[in-house]
Amino acid sequence: MMREIRERSRSTMLLAATAAAAIAIPCCIALAEGAGDAATPAGAAVAASDSVVRTDRGPLAIAIVIVCGAVIGGIMLARTGRPLKIRRLAALDAVDEAIGRATEMGRSVLFVPGIQDMTDIQTVAGITILGRVAKTAAEYDAKLEVPTCRSIVMAAARDAVQAAHFEAGRPETYNEGNINYLTDEQFGYVAAVTGSMVRDKPAACFYMGAFYAESLLFAENGNSIGAIQIAGTAEPSQLPFFVAACDYTLIGEEFFAASAYLSGERDQLGSIKGQDFGKLLAVAAILIGCLLATVGVFAPEGAIAHAAETIKTTFGG
């Protein structure tokens, strides 16, 4: 039974890591869209020809190989046992503190895994973090409540929490009744959760997953009841609300890196390192492109302007 639960928990975490690794690739593809053929002279006849390989997308293919190679290389490097350093995330370091606060105050811990289903990678990342929160709550003997917006998420959350209780050596304290499905309706869910927040006054609130208009409603309610709040989402439009109203926030990529940070698994850590290398390349390409484009303005017919145009059409569309 325990092994099965651990396996399920492990597969959930690997899924999160794989999904996080996949993010870099669509980004590169998106950048390359429309980077195709050079302009055809007006009025000229267009002749169709068969081609298996689009040679104009060659640089993009090289970029994909480099990024994927970096991820694979990172994983292989990690497997050699070489120590990999990941920056400390204050939001995750504060998990113990938030649950400790709830324990001392004799109140519950609330975990909201977003409002999307398990098909959303953010929900998967949120459930991974739930495992860590549940383990700490079990060690501290604090009550953890997880209201969910999707029935499948409830099932996944129950698995994660049960596995955490086993891992903490406190299986008897697991209570599946604390992990509930409320409703699929966005604002019906919000009303139910905020209502329970006002009534029960949890001392620690976690918001980890995909959030939309309800983000500020949750965060402001949590703030008003004096809870320590830790949020994590990859929704850029909701981040400012969480940053302003919560104590700690995992921002975008940090949220996905958190699963690697928490698990400490070498494959996941290596994957994070590889992705970071890919991001570094992207940043370098952007900076070089900006520089060349700026210089190219002063000599529109020169080689620099031509190089800038090539980068733009190849990667930027």
Binding site: D93, A94, M105, Y140, D141, D247
Partner: protein, 609 residues
Amino acid sequence: MSSSAPAAGKPAIDISKLRYILATDCGSTTTKAILVEKVGDSWRQTQRAEAPTTVEEPFANVTIGVSNSLTEIGELAGRRFIADDGTIIRRKNDSDPDGCDLYISTSSAGGGLQMVVAGVVAQMTAASAKRAALGAGAIVMDTIASNDKRRPHERIQRIRELRPDMVLISGGTDGGNVQQVVQIAEQIAPAKPRPRFGGEYELPVIYAGNKDAAPQVRVIFSKGFDLAVVDNLRPTLEQENLGPARDKIHDVFLEHVMAHAPGYDKLMAWSDAPIMPTPGAVGDILQRIAARDGLNAVCVDIGGATTDVFSVFGGTFNRTVSANLGMSYSISNVCAEAGMQNVLRWVHIDMDERELRNRVKNKMIRPTTIPQSAEALVFEQAVAREALRLAYVQHKEFATTLKGVQQQRTVGDLFAQQASGQTIVDDMKLDLLVASGGVLSHAPKMEQTAAMLVDSFEPQGFTQLAKDSIFMMPHLGVLASVHSAAAMEVFERDCLVRLGWSVAAKGEGKWGRKCFSYRVSGAVSASGELACGDVALVRVGPEQEVEVVVEPAKEFDLGAGAGKPVTRRVKGGTVGILFDARGRPLTLPENEADRKAAVARWAQVWETR
């Protein structure tokens, strides 16, 4: 008439009539006595004597050692302080040629005050309980918490094994957790820890937790324990209220622990003010000095078995006891914890590691031996540097802001989110660093004491260095509870030996590149430019006042910000002003030959007069 609070059952003390004050500190091995006299209009410490402590068998009476030390001090002062019947002689009038006006004492004999503390969460209420106990001068034997990763039976077993003088229980905010507080009480009560002294008396338990749990805690400890309930240490998580628990610990220390220790009933009858635990008294005088002068101060007392670090930053007092860091009984542990590599990095002469290991073990089994050669002294001071460094690291980890506190954020904090519980010890804001303990106080040269302090504490910016001349801070701490002005005066004039100043740049740079330039003007003139990795010593005497101007390179900070010049007027000391361009954190060259050359060069700077 100005009067001060006396010990229980004693008449009020008229401090205006005081002229001769005797103070003793009953340590584990030695009872140290000092005589504080009014000389003209000012208070001075005039005599000092010591005698072996007699709390253990065959004497089993602490007052014998006290009488011996006071007899000796009387001989030195030309006054009799001990009568033929062994009691302390009191002065009857101003013309009386014998006796004193006031007798006070501290005590750490028999291992001092030993406590077990408990709380719900180790980092929150249990940490507050530990701070309260340490601040009151106790040694914390163990900390029980619901998240200490021990099973209930393991906790009960541990409590059974310990023989504390008292137990302090905290846990839960007011109106908060009751269940786990009661659970902790239910684990301690059946364990029935036995007190160290007096097998007959009931073990004192102080409860300073959630007030809602107090009725149940009273029921649990109703038989076989002497329970005292005081205000909650953490009424809310945003607030720490250590005062009531500390005061109660002092009371219980006197009423129970001292009253049952051999001869202490007599000593308490002699003493005109409540007897204080020695570390509590040291902390008290440090807090008073810091409050009076608006200083951030650190005081270290390195002993044979333990190292105590006291600090006051922004008015917040903290004390830690590093139980396994010391220069004799614990010297092996220092070498193990720091690693021989780290110890030997401070040594610039060739030494055989095997011989050093023998030397360490010899010191451990013969703790009173002192270095007989220059090589042995260099090695001992290298060990001291590491012991002090480790003790300071532990202190920084303990002296933190409160954990579990709600944070207020703005969008501007997006990339600068810091967890709570950060250390409050800021080396750049440290104003005064005081050293005491054998290896520091009895170093052959003051320069060596200063060098050990700078190398291990790595002060930044301008920091005054001092040492407690004869370890009289405990005496002055208890004196301050009766006559604060006298204690302060003696502290300034006779207690502290001002060594000088450390002026050190924060930042890292490649050795050989410019770090900062300095200019000293006034009673002494000097100037120079220091490259990274260099140190310079300018001799400025204790009574000489100078203006110091330092201009750092752009990546170094001397207190005003990176690259910004600083001007300070300072008085010198027995050593002078050390300009330290080795950078912070202080790193030594990895190459063996370069490291030795650098350490030898620094040692030479200290030696040059």
